[in-house]
Symmetry: C2
Subunit: 168 residues, 2 copies
């Protein structure tokens, strides 16, 4: 992977996690991670505006080259899928509006890449994310999940560069 900045985005209907890493001369460096909270009591259109504005500011500040988001195949139900879809659509649009390509990986790929086990739980993912990036402070699960997405992309890109395989 060439030197680049990657943002992982984990959108939910009331909270959106993000995590940013930089790949520099082969080393992976932690930049920042956090959450954008949406005001619960506001109408959905207003909550989505908060999400968009918060994420726009973060992207504008850290200037990532690529954004990573989790591929979604299922949800707890139709209602959850609809809620998740709204936030995910806004997150993708926000990256796209600043001309940042959005890459998708499945939860299995992300967990496999970070922990070596596709069905790892959030605690295991968090433990490995902190170990890989040398993070001492506490992280929310939203933040560590988002960092895991960015790390997964970083690992996958390394593999693409170092193997002669044609990757489709």
């Amino acid at each position: 992977m060439q030197d680049k900045i990657v943002i992982g985005i984990d959108p939910g209907s009331i909270m959106c996690g993000y995590g940013i890493i930089r790949k520099e001369r082969g080393a992976t460096i932690y930049i920042t991670a956090g959450q954008i909270a949406m005001p619960k009591k506001q109408p959905l259109s207003v909550r989505l505006k908060y999400l968009h504005e918060g994420l726009s500011e973060i992207i504008h500040t850290y200037q990532p080259d690529e954004a990573v988001i989790e591929k979604i195949f299922f949800a707890k139900g139709i209602k959850s899928a609809l809620h998740l879809g709204h936030a995910r659509g806004v997150a993708m649009l926000t990256a796209s509006m600043q001309d940042i390509p959005v890459i998708e990986y499945s939860a299995l790929e992300i967990k496999q890449s970070v922990t070596g086990y596709g069905h790892a739980d959030k605690k295991q993912v968090q433990h490995m994310v902190k170990a890989i990036l040398g993070i001492k402070q506490d992280l929310s699960f939203d933040s560590s999940d988002a960092l895991a997405m960015a790390l997964c992309h970083s690992h996958t890109m390394d593999y693409k560069i170092h193997t002669p395989l044609v990757w489709s």
Copy 2:
């Protein structure tokens, strides 16, 4: 209903219908209706950007006071709900970014308001929309559905003004 311009928005994952009416001294006037097509072969993040840019331009041109979108309770499946959620989230955000309140009505309320029958099909809705607004030319179902949303809001607002009921 005071004089105002209302846009109805009917977002889908590859096509988004819109319809704009103006309420002026009690009369309801058709302004425009159409569809925003998203490029099928592009990644989702790019399709959502097309939707956002197209809808932003329409809102900027016609300066609606309020936007109406259909309330969604169910979809054909999780995948449909996710797809629909993405487009719907982007449509709501786009209105919200221009400080336009987004009002939601159920399909039942919209059909009931326009045709007098909550389970009317698209053809019946289209027929009544054209009759109410005196539209002679052909309309796509996306356009007539969007106009029906705007009309439903216009009727509901009339009712709110002319009845002493407290509406919550």
